[in-house]
Structure formats: structure tokens, C-alpha cells
Amino acid sequence: MFTRNSQLIPFFIFVCMLPSVLTSGILIFVKTLGRTDGIDLATFLKLSIYLTVGNTIGILLFAPLYWAWKLEYENSALLKHFPVSITIAITCILLLSFYQFSSIVFLIIPLLVILARKGNFLHSIIVSFIICILLSVGTAYKLGFFGTHLDSGTSFETVLFLLSIIFVLYTATIAFYELKLHQDKLQLLVTQSINSMEVSEERYRMLAENVADVIWVWNLSENKFTYISPSVFQLRGLTVEEAMQETITSSLEPNSAKEVLDKIIRILASNDSQPDQEQYYYDEVLQYKKNGTLIWVETVSHLVVNANGQMEIFGVSRNINERKLAEQIQKDNENQLKELNATKDKFFSIIAHDLMNPFHTLIGFSGLLISQTAKKDLEAVVVSAKLMKDSAEKTKNLLKNLLEWSYTQTGKISFDPEEIVLQKIVQEVLDLLQVAADQKGIELNAEIPGDSKIFADKYMLSAILRNLISNAIKYTYSGGRIKLSAEKTDNEWIFKVKDNGVGMQPEVYESIFNIGTHKSELGTEKEQGTGLGLILCKEFIEKHRGKIGVQSNIREGSTFRFTIPL
């Protein structure tokens, strides 16, 4: 059946007109065979066209009726009131034009347009049939507009009028049918799209509301959240309404908020330069829970433009608190392992080198001692014995430090703080080291508040002071000065050991408390050290929950400062 005018026109030309044209000429020729007067070309053509049009109308009336009956009759309301009324009206107008007001016949044209709009193709065929029959009968009986004006050319005009009426009616009907078809298709598409969108929206809403992660949308123009999924309650203990009231600054820990705000500025700048490039951003931020505690949250976000043309950040947040804690533990373990490894390296280094050297000395001088004894060179024996004694003393000190350090590392050293008189313990240390200071011509002073007491481990405090002062003696030139001072503040004791010795480069004094990087250097008179003294100091001070630091300038001296909390 015709559903497009592009189908009707070929049908009209090839099915209706072409066979009629082919056969009409032959028919006229056959009919002239019996005539004696012959027929001129003009008449021949006129009759041929006349028959062609008559035949064309016949085919045009009946052939589409076949398809209309076959395809549309059952589905269409043939007896719909309006098309039937129009059909009756057209019939009445035609009949009226036969008896009165013949020109009224042209009123059927607008009615045909209305019929084309309201009826279907079957209605148009029936009406065309009625018009053709009635007008032809009227014309044949000299009734109506064409009948009353009948002359030799009237019949020709009538058939052309009929053909035009049928063709226009069919074309208009199909045009309206096409329009309706497209309208219905469009409506169907719109309905399907709406349904699809509703289903899709419902699906995404279900997803958003049931995932453990929090889905959120931050509107940059309005500077507020426009959507937060209900899972925010699981993440932060907030209801959606409460979370929607928050801002970036209020919901995040200050440093995280600053990082996020800075990043937004960078993202917007990046988006301005590359607007078509969709990029996802991954962040780990600290966010407040409802009870004020902080949790680590990972966010994945990207910039979108909403339906109103506003910039929005669409993001998904996930609780990574446990992961961060695990990472921290892992990091701590890693640092501990590094430290242990450095400790091990230092230990082996001491054993391999520092402990071996004195033995070389002892073995060497003991051999020398044997030969000197044999030669009875008593002066030389005394010198060698003295050197052997010094070497043995150094080895003993080294072993002592090593033992203490190993005790601190293994936790075997006991920490027993008690009330002790500071002046007394300082004096003991000074007495011990005074000889070494005098040997180098170093002035050793102490400025300690009288009768002051300190709550500390006696042994450890003594070791700290001893190590720091002996260290100062080691790196101070002859004629130098060393000053030990102690000051009590509201919550701690502050000790300072100041010298005017060689001083240190910044990179040196930044590493002197680290066992992995510190190396002992020779003193001003080539004194050797174990490299463990300062590290032991640090360990002992940290046992007291104190801190140690150093200020130093090269060739101006160093000041070691440590604190012992009250």
C-alpha cells in the first residue's frame, strides 16, 4: 500500500498512465478501421489522450482500492463519523450542484483537503469514486457545472478535472499519512527515550545508593554539593542532608582542604587550555567524621559540565583509613629495618676495623717488647708497655661503649630515673675529664645551679655528659675553652656543652646522630673515637623523652644542646 508520495507518483505514471498510453493509441487506430472518412492527426491525438485519461482514472480508482481493501480495511475505522460526514457533505454538494448553484461544485475542494487530513486512504478512494461517478453522470446528462457548460471541449475538461481531483486527493492523503506516521514514530522515539532514560536513571540511582563508596557532585558555580549518595553515612556518620550543608573547607582537614582547593584551581586552568581532554584526578585526603575524628579518604574525580552549562566536579570517595594505617605500619617497619640494617653494618664495621686496630698495636708492641726485653733496653720497654696500655685502655673504652650501645639496642639496659643532685654528678664527670683537658691545655668550666636536683637515670646522665665533654675536648685545639651549662625552665632542664673548637659543616652535624651515616673523625691531636658516643647520647636522652641538637660553625666551635623533661 502507498505510504509515501514517492510510491504513488511512480504508480500513477507507470501503472496507470503508461499502459493506458500504450493501448489507447492502438484502440483508436482499431476503431478508425471501419470508418470511411478517416481521421486527422489532431483528432487522433485528442481521442488517444481522452481514452488514456479515462483508462487512467479507471485504474487509479480501482487498483489502489485493492491494496486499501487488503491492508487498511480491517485496521481503519471506515465508518468514522467525521470522514463519513465529509463524504455525505461532498455527495450533497455534488447533487445540489446538479440542480442549483452549479459553481458550488468547487466547494468540494476544501472538503477534500479536510477529508485527506481526517480520513484514510480508503476514504479518499471511496470519495474519489463517488465524485467521478456523480460528476460523469451529471456531465453526461448535462447537469451541474460541466454539464451546463457542455460543448465539444467540456468532456475533456471534465476528465482532466476528475483526474486532478483524484491525484490531489490521493497525494494529500498520503502526505498527511506520512506526517502522522512520522509524528507517531517521533512520539514513539520520545516515549522510548524517556522510558530508557527513566530506566537508566533508576538503575544509576540504585547503584549510587547501594555502593559502599560515596558518590558526590560539587557545583563550582554555586560552591556547594548538589548530590551526595546515602553511603556518606557509612563513611562519615553524616546524613545526606548534613553532608550537603558542608563545604570543602569544613569537611576536610585544613592541609587537605588547601591541597584540594589549589588542585581545583589547577584543574580549571588545565581545562581552559584543553577543554576537550577528559582527565581523572586521584587524591588522598584527610576528612572529618561526624565525631570529629579524621579518616583517610581516596577520591577519584573529574570535571563535567552540567545541563545548565555549569562546571561540576563529579567524584567518588572511598575509605582508605585501614590501608593508610597499614601503609604507615609498613613504612615504620621499613624504617626500623633500615635502622637495624645500619646498626648491623656499624656493628660489623666496629668489629672489623675499630676493634681490630688496637689488637694490631698490641701485637706489634708486644713483639717489640719481647725484643727490647731481650736487649735489656728498659727505657724502650717502658715506652712500649705504655703504648700497649693506652691501646688496651682504648679497646676497653670501645668495648664498653659497644656493650652499652648493644644493651640499648636490645633493651637490656635498665632505665632507673631517680632524684639526683646535678652538681654532684657534673663534678664527677668534670673530675674524670679534667686530666684530658689539662693535657690539651683546654679550659673546662661548668655553670650549674647550686643544689639543683634532677629526675634522671644517674648512669645515663653521667654517660651523656661524659661523652659530650670528651667529644668537645677531642675537637678543641689547645688553649681552647669548653663550657658546660644547665638551666631549669618550667618543664625541662636544658643542658649546653659549648666549645670553640673546629666546628662542623652543616652536612656533618645533620648526620652525627644517625648511626648509618655518622663516621668518627680524628680529633685535633689525632685522637681516635668509637663513633658511638653521640649515638649513645641520643639513645639515653630519648630514654628520658628529651631531645638533642647541635649548632655549629666551622672554625668557630659547636654547641650541643639537650633537654631532660622535668
Partner: protein, 122 residues
């Protein structure tokens, strides 16, 4: 036969004779109606020729067998009615011309039918 014609063609096969006779009769009567009621002077040609449409429909419904039925209907129509008004010649000549006219009508309906099928296929 084209798919869309199959139901109607099937129906026609079942009621073949009835349909064939009905349309043949309709063809002849509509021809009479056109000649008697719709002819206008001076040539007394009908303003429209309903049998041409019915001939195409017969081909749609009956297929190739419509050739015979259209030929019969058109022959009767042309021989006894149409030609009677125009020529009063010998019977044999009238029969010849009637047959020739009938053959032309068959050709017309057949060509229209074939083109319609071709158009529907494409």
C-alpha cells in the same frame, strides 16, 4: 506472486470460480454503465473507463488466468455493446474488432499488473 498478494490470491484460489465470475460480470456491467450512462457527445466516449481498473484487479487476484476472464469480459462488452453503437458491419468483422479490442484491454491490464508487481518488489 508478491508476498503481500498471497493471502488474497489464496482466497481467490478457494473461491476461484465465484470470484472470476463476479469480476467478469462486474467488468461487463461496469462497461455497460460507462457506455450507457457516462458517454458524452460528440464522440460518445465514456468520461471514465471503470473496466480498465477492474481488469488490473482481476490480474492481481487471479494471476495469469485473468487473461482469459478479461478477454472474455472485454470481448462480450465490446462486441455486443460498444461496437454496436459505432458500426453496423458484418458479424465476422464485428467479432474480429471485438476480439482485437479485448486483446488490447488484456494487454493494458497485464502491463499495469506487471509494472505494479515490479514497483512493489523494488
Amino acid at each position: 506472486m508478491v508476498e503481500s498478494f498471497k493471502p488474497a490470491a489464496e482466497l481467490c484460489r478457494k473461491l476461484y470460480w465465484k470470484y472470476a465470475l463476479f469480476f467478469t460480470l462486474s467488468y461487463i456491467l461496469s462497461g455497460f454503465f460507462c457506455v450507457l450512462q457516462l458517454s458524452v457527445p460528440p464522440d460518445n466516449y465514456s468520461l471514465l473507463w471503470i473496466p480498465s481498473g477492474l481488469g488490473v484487479i482481476m490480474f492481481f487476484l487471479l494471476g495469469y488466468s485473468a487473461i482469459v476472464w478479461v478477454l472474455i469480459a472485454s470481448f462480450i462488452l465490446n462486441t455486443f455493446t460498444y461496437l454496436q453503437h459505432h458500426f453496423a458491419n458484418l458479424e465476422a468483422y464485428r467479432v474480429f474488432v471485438g476480439f482485437l479490442n479485448a486483446a488490447i484491454d488484456v494487454i493494458q491490464a497485464f502491463v499495469a499488473w506487471k509494472i505494479a508487481i515490479y514497483l512493489e518488489k523494488n
